[in-house]
């Protein structure tokens, strides 16, 4: 079986992360319960004729994929695999409201077409002229991990040599409004730095895109090896720590060899307990890292977690802003990632220096 490497990365998030010459040195501090991405200049990457019908999610996905491809030094890939929890939700909102408001009359196709979940993956294929395998996973908090798993399997078996993998989700007004009503979004604004002290229900919603070129050959620019990945539809809080250990054992990794753990804490008092189980037991004394206070929560936010892990391993730099505890750790060889959303759809990922 071949090994799988992350050879390039690009993240568009509510921070200025799409420029890889920077690494979270300048942060935008938010006092909000919904945060939008820092937009790259989309026109620099997408011809106007193609851009005019593109939803924001498509633009984010296309630009992130172009930047990731550029960094990898490739013109094209063998496969494009994306994950999205909600797809281009603004267009879905637009089409549903138009159906209701106009009593099913005078509807136009563009919003409907862009509501199709694989529209981002399809548009990237169109932009690149990529006729290869093109899949889209749509499973809440593991949408991105499903795509990553698929890519990893193909690369390990050498069914493909280079795969573009990405996660993307955009914010929509109606979606935000109704998620506030059911307390999935915090009712109060919260400062980025105080997210985990909030002790209230719900989280801060964000949006973004994280794209990666994965190959089964190491190159000079490679960031890290994706050693293992598991997803779970259910997992109870009491067994998270046990499952983490089992997962490491399955992959012949000692818990003591983990240098850092990247956690998906989003400040929801009802569900951060899952993370606390890990940070209070086996991973109590190692470097703990979090990121949703600067990216917000979205179904594919964990793609930003992977971006963070890959960049830490390659640069051996741990940005101040993402430290959850203070340790003396200076070497980052093996990093474990754990994420879940609302107590469901859990994932463990292991990254290793290569």
């Amino acid at each position: 079986m071949k090994k799988v490497y992350i050879n390039s990365v690009c993240a568009i998030t509510p921070q200025k992360t799409f420029d890889n010459t920077q690494f979270l040195e300048e942060l935008i501090e938010y006092d909000a319960n919904v945060i939008n991405v820092v937009n790259p200049v989309y026109k620099d990457f997408i011809p106007p004729a193609a851009a005019r019908r593109m939803a924001k999610g498509i633009k984010m996905g296309v630009v992130a994929s172009k930047l990731a491809l550029k960094e990898s030094g490739l013109e094209n890939v063998d496969a494009i695999i994306t994950g999205t929890g909600m797809g281009c939700v603004r267009d879905s909102e637009k089409f549903v409201s138009a159906i209701i408001d106009n009593d099913e009359q005078f509807l136009t196709p563009t919003a409907f077409i862009q509501s199709t979940h694989n529209t981002v993956g399809g548009q990237i294929a169109l932009e690149l002229g990529c006729k290869g395998y093109n899949f889209t996973y749509v499973h809440s908090g593991i949408s991105f991990e499903s795509a990553l798993l698929d890519a990893k399997m193909q690369l390990e078996l050498d069914e493909a040599k280079a795969i573009l993998v990405g996660g993307v989700d955009e914010l929509g007004d109606h979606t935000v409004a109704i998620h506030k009503l059911v307390n999935h979004i915090k009712s109060e604004n919260i400062n980025s730095n105080a997210l985990l002290e909030s002790k209230t229900q719900g989280c801060v919603f964000g949006e973004g895109a994280g794209f990666f070129v994965l190959k089964n050959e190491k190159q000079e620019s490679s960031y890290a090896e994706v050693v293992a990945l598991n997803t779970y539809n259910t997992l109870d809080e009491e067994s998270v720590n046990e499952e983490a250990i089992r997962f490491l054992e399955e992959n012949n990794i000692e818990a003591s060899s983990i240098d850092a753990i990247i956690l998906g804490n989003n400040g929801d008092v009802n569900f951060d307990g899952y993370y606390n189980k890990l940070t209070s037991k086996t991973f109590k004394d190692i470097q703990q890292i979090y990121y949703k206070h600067i990216s917000g929560e979205f179904n594919t936010a964990s793609s930003f977690g992977l971006w963070l892990g890959a960049r830490i391993i390659k640069s051996q730099i741990l940005p101040e802003a993402v430290k959850l505890n203070i340790t003396e750790t200076s070497k980052f060889k093996t990093i474990l990632l754990y994420n879940q959303y609302r107590g469901k759809n859990h994932s463990f990922t292991i990254l290793k220096q290569c």
């Binding site: 106007p48 851009a51 005019r52 019908r53 005078f106 136009t108 196709p109 563009t110 077409i113």
Partner: protein, 85 residues
């Protein structure tokens, strides 16, 4: 007729999201699809809805649109002849 043509240009720019264009950029005899303005089959469907909504003209078959949407001139002529509002 000129007013109708200007109206059409403005509506096309807005409806089809031709961001960087103004009505002056579209000549009455410019070819709208393919190599001309670059419109495609999805735009044709958008224009069919525009005919229905603004002028009360219903096209049952998208193929009928090809000749009608050739240019602003052909569109205006067809609308002038067939409009019910």
């Amino acid at each position: 007729m000129d007013a109708l043509k200007l109206e059409l240009k403005e509506n096309i720019i807005e409806q089809l999201n031709l961001e960087d264009m103004t009505a002056d950029d579209i000549a009455n005899d410019d070819i709208l699809f393919g190599d001309g303005l670059g419109l495609d089959s999805i735009d044709a469907l958008e224009l069919i809805v525009m005919l229905d909504k603004n002028y009360g003209i219903k096209l049952a078959d998208p193929k009928e649109g090809r000749a009608i949407f050739e240019s602003i001139d052909t569109m205006a002529a067809y609308i002038a002849e067939n409009r019910s509002k």
